[in-house]
Symmetry: C2
Subunit: 404 residues, 2 copies
């Protein structure tokens, strides 16, 4: 008789953004005329840049022609994309990463969720609190955690790294040593960043203890401060202890196109076993490559004109971030993030819980954000707004919040 | 200290098609002028049909326009695609499957590889022998098997269902009851098909024993015989015991576009737990939807003109299958498959092993096929050729083999 994976049953409720979606639907049914502005899920709104659209059309034409048609992609991605990534994202920043160490995929979320598979079930994970839910949930599913404790809103056997106002939302090195450490900077949801010397401390810590850092750099394109590292491989020794995840979703608006990549350095060994062949095997067995036309779109992001266009989009979103940050701050909100990251993190007023603030914001301002508690108990009394709306909506949302 | 998933280390060698690729590269280095015809990996060669190309261009334009741009897709796929699948693939064939039960993905390989996650590690799996390697390998990775026994070329604790000349390459019901049963018909690699009354026996068996059938119907579009079921849901009671995988790869040449779907009926329960919410949770946590433009391409496959065009492609490939089947048969080869499936399965001559025959075929005819042993010990002394080449190459390959 078949048996289910009971670890799945440990997961409380449903995925955060599905819950938010449901609340909005309910509200809309009750208020069919409400003009809702969504600064919640973190989805982009700017259309794909013209240079990328051009590359897509060209690749579509290739697929319609027998001479240029492409079937299965190489397991780990097309060389034209892997080589430009290695060059522009790494070697140009003095990171020693080769084309072979780049694994192209359909997005950082998938890779962040799947990476835990190549580690055994008895690894102990550490995550920031608050945290992007995928890191924890994918480990719950694999049985790498204990049960969920509703009162603490935490899973047993997970090392939570508090990110608080006091530490500037950047975690301190833990006393209890984790085997796998999830770090995401610029951070989702807090918008905090980690300076290079600080990240170097984490790399040194991981090397000393034989831990592996799973570094989510999905938002690196939003960094403007030259002190902030774009890649963990800017730190010495990171090739021996870190895997990095990157995404085209926020960099170039690919949330609906789906493209990302993961870097697994060949020097990275665990118990003497190199991780590169394990991840390659995972790709070869359970994945079939990102679509050719999407990989060509990814290539276009690195062209001179493509770069210029996506940088313009990022500047557009970062101006939104400034508008939200300044607007809320001048209204007396306590805000952080939003400078080298597209997320603005604010403390809810008058000790409101984050879901209470969600409801108030939806009902009084028609604005949707993300309750901090959805990212873990450390997010309670906090709230995330994103810079990914249109300018008009962003300005309007800030106005409405200020009038509340 | 981090620890690797040691189950990965149980996997011998590398993935079959990577091995074949390596042998071809080695041969090409030694014979740079060799004109090699590939009837091995099962990749299509016909370009994407015009109606689908049209839909792709249109969707690309939508992505370039702020009014029509789409970000994150709904977790389980766009309603426009899920509804047309439910209608055309299921309700039109009198299968009671609703739009909600369709989970759109980036391909059947990914879904076949990932589905095992929602079952516990102590389920015992049954697979056909020979078999598509993904079913076994993904379970090895999850620790659902014992070690690999090189002499038997089998993993411990897996129930292998022999598919032999004697049983027409269609497995008999096993005596030892499996928890999870992988079936693929039309079959890869043998090209065998299962009649409806036979599949009904499997459904009855699974219901009686509380087993779940994981039914890979990736090749259903190649069925011409009206006696052969296209879906397991044509069998009574299958909604209570079966998950079905479908692919656009072979149906419409999407190997490089990546689109498939999985059907999880809401009635399917294991130990009283419905599987639909578990798979939905898996999708929501570790996946972010197939690209919008690819889902629009999938929709176009079901349009009147799209259907006509992809049927023409299938007819083209099936004429290739006929050419291979007839050509080899009349040369004295023992062949099967190739009638309701794009694969021709042949016995190697003079008791040659399948890798010996691979080398002979490559060296004497410059033709690449797939050694049966790559699909398990039951594939030894057998060889797979695919109908997915161009007409010219297929005719030439058969001529060369006949002259050997």
């Amino acid at each position: 008789m078949a048996k289910v994976n009971r670890n799945y049953l440990k997961l409380p409720g449903s995925y955060l953004f599905s819950m938010i979606g449901e609340r909005i639907r309910t509200y809309q049914k009750q208020h069919p005329d409400a003009d809702i502005i969504r600064l919640g899920i973190g989805d982009v709104t700017q259309p794909i840049a013209p240079e990328i659209i051009r590359a897509l059309h060209h690749a579509v034409d290739e697929m319609g022609n027998a001479e240029t048609f492409r079937g299965y992609a190489p397991d780990l991605g097309y060389a034209f994309l892997r080589s430009v990534i290695a060059e522009k994202d790494y070697r140009d920043r003095n990171c020693e990463i080769s084309e072979e160490e780049i694994f192209v995929s359909d997005g950082a979320k998938c890779d962040c969720g799947n990476i835990q598979e190549i580690f055994s079930a008895d690894n102990r994970i550490a995550v920031c609190d608050p945290v992007y839910p995928v890191y924890v949930d994918s480990n719950v599913m694999a049985g790498r955690t204990g049960v969920y404790e509703p009162e603490a809103a935490r899973f047993q056997d997970v090392i939570y790294l508090p990110c608080t106002k006091e530490n500037g939302y950047v975690p301190l090195l833990p006393k209890e040593v984790p085997d796998l450490i999830y770090l995401c900077f610029p951070n989702n949801p807090t918008g905090a960043v980690m300076k290079k010397e600080n990240l170097q401390e984490w790399v040194d810590y991981a090397r000393k203890h034989g831990s592996v850092i799973l570094y989510d750099a999905a938002y690196e394109a939003y960094i403007s401060d030259p002190e902030i590292p774009h890649s963990i491989y800017e730190c010495e020794g990171a090739r021996e202890c870190a895997i990095e995840f990157r995404s085209f979703s926020k960099t170039a608006g690919f949330t609906g196109l789906r493209l990302g990549f993961t870097v697994v350095p060949k020097d990275l060994k665990v118990e003497g076993t190199a991780l590169w062949p394990l991840w390659a095997r995972r790709h070869g067995t359970k994945y079939n490559g990102a679509p050719y036309i999407i990989q060509r779109a990814g290539e276009a992001v690195y062209s001179k004109e493509g770069r210029r266009q996506v940088r313009e989009q990022i500047a557009y979103y970062m101006e939104n971030a400034r508008i939200i940050y300044d607007g809320l701050r001048s209204s007396g909100y306590e805000v952080s993030g939003g400078v080298n990251a597209p997320y603005i993190w604010l403390r809810t007023p008058e000790g409101m819980t984050s879901w209470e603030f969600f409801d108030v914001l939806l009902e009084q301002a028609g604005v949707v954000g993300t309750p901090g508690a959805g990212f873990g108990p450390g997010g309670e009394n906090h709230f995330r707004l994103t810079a990914f709306g249109s300018r008009e909506n962003t300005v309007e949302a800030v106005e409405r919040i200020r009038k509340m």
